[in-house]
Amino acid sequence: MDVVNQLQRQFIDYSASLHREGFLDDQFTQLQKLQDDNSPDFVVEVASLFFEDCEKLINNMARALEQQQGVDFKQVDASVHQLKGSSSSIGAMRVKDVCIAFRSFCEAQNREGCLRCLQQVTHEYSLLKNKLQTLFRLQQQILAAGGSIPVVE
């Protein structure tokens, strides 16, 4: 019991800090609410999909921006747009914010700016990935200890 409580408290605190630091926003809370007995791993599933997608998009963007002949900004923009969509759907606020800035650089066809944004996106993405993995681990521990995941409002 005590272990469960401890874990739960940890979970709540960690969750709150993620929200505070802007890694996650309300959308993530919505996702957590969607998780229920019918889909117990929903949040983990969505997060995994997101990470996969994110990596793919980042690679696309990197490749497009590397083109020496001429960067196809439209393609980069399309990837950024998609990343923006998926990050906002999962609640990855910081990633989404970088995407917004990224898009304006794409529109301006600013290669330097785009490259910088790409770096930022990659950075934010790895940060978020680590944090979420920690969070999920906590969740699993709680469940393993017989407790339930507290809902963080």
Binding site: L34, F42, V46, L49, A78, H81, Q82, K84, S89, G91
Partner: protein, 613 residues
């Protein structure tokens, strides 16, 4: 759950069990969307490929109630999918995007989306999407059921969107009451089911749709009534109701296309006031017949045919509407512009110069008249014009209230003439309709007077296909205005060599009708009022106008004016047919009207327009 289960469940517990098809290339979003929808207790099918979605829908239209689609997709543009679904299956489609730009949202609306959601999607938003299904069912039912109810012309004009649909239907029905009553009644009963009930839907495959368009083209805009279309198509198990509702959609589609052009034109603003007056005029002139002509369906069809489903059709509608508006009195002036053939800017400037102080709006008003007249004169077009408005969105006719206004406003910005080329092209160019659209677009887009033409033209495009009335229609427009218009349409066909134009040669004829109609409205009024009428035309008024105008035009002035007109901006396209020959049979009444109008006008036919041209 099996399909049957779902179906019955849906019926009983709607919206629970509503069948949704979700399309999004982003797996994260798709999973989220699917989960959210399931949480709302809908039955969800997801796919990341638009093509797969379309295939599923085509296989069985009755399998789904609603489609939610992302805008940005790699294999097919979301808007394209939207159009396909709207045309072929008539299912409500909700667009989804991370980008909430007003422009995009507008695009979604004009392409027929019933809603536009922003990512990230919240469950609350999804909980209410079933309303779109209900609404559509209701509309369908009303449309088919109320077909035999004639609506007052003016009333029709005002109706916009759904109302327009109904109104138009009603108007059309008036003439066909005898024939269709039986059919209607029979079909109508089918629609009495509760909204949740699904009528067996006809899947409008590409093949079927092609037949439909061909039939409409063959019949001519003014003659393309569901019954005849049905006969021509000769497809088993297809009812007149099916054809009628498809016709409606088609018109909407065209209108949508032209609406886009209209928006640019902002015609509405300028003409807004005149519309009502215009309409009235139309009716006064005894163009009542137009209403029947209005078969915007026909126009619609025509336009539809000419334009590839790519939405050009929609554009046609709008431009046409606009076109009419734009025809401010400086018809002659416009003609000059028109001649610029494809130099929208030039034209515009020209027009503008002509219409000093008109500030577009005026020009529009003045012009449209003549233009319209020209178009109207084309006789056929006249008939069509009436039809144009029928398109729900008035796209075809400037009169169609929506269109017209929209177009008119567009004009206000630019003098009619100048605009057209650009605007016309607006819709058309993008799609095939370019040729048509250019004409129509001209009218609309630029909002210039030309725009009116364009609007008309678009209509004419449609008409053109029908070829039937377009010509006639264009002429009706006031002598001057009409002249220009007339010439335009004709020219439009030919000269329009603008890329798009060519393709639409057929449209030309159709356009005139629209434009004619529109023009008529305009011509009649000369003043803004007429212009506005055009809008009304959609519903009713403009049609009336068209006749006289067309008739006038038919006098032969058409030839003069029209050809030039067409060239110019494309909206001239309106003229699709050389005057002489224009007088479309269909328009018969138009011709009479036109002649009547002519008398009134004192034979404006081909006046200034011609010369300018």
């Amino acid at each position: 759950m099996t399909v049957e289960q779902i179906g019955s469940e849906g019926k009983d517990q709607f919206p629970i069990g509503m069948r949704v098809l979700a399309v999004d290339d982003d797996p994260t979003c798709l999973l989220l969307l699917g989960t959210l929808l399931r949480r709302c207790q809908y039955h969800v099918t997801t796919t990341s490929q638009a093509k797969t979605a379309l295939k599923m829908l085509r296989e069985n239209k009755n399998k789904f109630d609603l489609v939610i689609s992302d805008v940005h997709m790699p294999d097919m543009d979301g808007f394209k999918l939207l159009e396909h679904v709207g045309l072929e299956m008539d299912l409500p489609v909700i667009m989804l995007s991370a980008n909430g730009d007003t422009k995009l949202v507008m695009k979604g609306i004009t392409h027929g989306a019933c809603d536009y959601l922003l990512k990230p999607v919240r469950i609350e938003e999804l909980q209410n999407i079933w309303q779109h299904v209900v609404r559509r069912k209701k509309k369908d039912r009303c449309n088919s059921g109320s077909k035999d109810k004639p609506h007052p012309d003016s009333g029709e004009a005002a109706g916009i969107g759904n109302v327009d649909n109904n109104g138009k239907l009603n108007k059309k029905r008036k003439d066909q009451n005898e024939d269709e009553d039986d059919e209607r009644d029979e079909n109508g009963h089918d629609n009495e089911d509760p909204s949740a009930q699904k009528k067996p839907r006809v899947v409008w495959s590409v093949e079927l749709h092609r037949k439909f368009v061909a039939a409409v083209n063959q019949l001519g805009i003014d003659k393309a009534v569901p019954k005849k279309i049905l006969e021509l198509m000769n497809v088993e198990k297809l009812t007149r109701e099916n054809v009628a509702s498809h016709l409606q959609k088609f018109r909407l589609y065209l209108k949508r296309i032209s609406c886009v052009a209209n928006q640019q034109a902002n015609m509405a603003a300028a003409l807004g006031t005149a519309d009502s007056a215009y309409l009235r005029m139309g009716s006064l002139n005894g163009l009542g017949n137009f209403h029947t002509l209005a078969g915007s369906d026909q126009l619609h069809n025509a336009a539809f045919r000419s334009f590839p489903p790519s939405g050009v059709l929609g554009r046609l509608n709008t431009p046409a509407g606009l076109g009419i508006r734009g025809l401010p009195s400086p018809g002659t002036i416009q003609l000059g512009h028109v001649q610029n053939s494809g130099n929208p800017t030039n034209d515009l400037s020209k027009l503008q110069s002509f219409v000093p102080g008109n500030h577009n709006t005026n020009i529009l008003q003045g012009m449209p008249m003549s233009l319209e007249l020209d178009r109207l004169q084309h006789n056929k077009s006249v008939g069509h014009i009436g039809e144009l408005p029928t398109t729900d969105s008035t796209t075809v006719f400037p009169g169609s209230g929506n269109l017209v206004d929209a177009r008119i406003t567009g004009f206000s910005n630019n003098p009619l003439l100048g605009v057209t080329s650009n605007s016309l092209m607006l819709e058309g160019s993008s799609q095939q309709a370019t040729s048509h659209t250019s004409v129509s677009a001209i009218g609309f887009q630029n909002g210039n007077a030309l725009s009116d033409f364009t609007s008309i033209a678009p209509a004419s495009n449609q008409l053109q296909d029908s070829k039937a009335g377009s010509q006639g229609q264009a002429s009706p427009i006031n002598c001057n205005a009409g002249q220009i218009i007339r010439s335009a349409p004709q020219e439009w066909n030919a000269p329009r060599k603008d890329a798009p134009y060519q393709s639409h040669a057929s449209i030309n004829s159709s356009i005139p009708i629209n434009s004619a109609m529109i023009q008529l409205g305009q011509c009649l009024d000369r003043n803004n009022s007429i212009f506005h009428r055009t809008t009304d035309l959609d519903s009713v008024g403009p049609l009336n106008f068209v006749d006289p105008l067309s008739i006038k035009h038919g006098e032969g002035d058409n030839s003069i004016m029209e050809p030039s007109v067409i060239e110019k901006e494309g909206y001239l396209m309106f003229q699709p047919r050389p005057h002489g020959s224009h007088v479309p049979d269909n328009i018969g009444s138009l011709e009479d009207l036109a002649s009547a109008m002519m008398k009134q006008e004192g034979g404006c036919n081909g006046y200034s327009l011609r010369t300018s041209i």
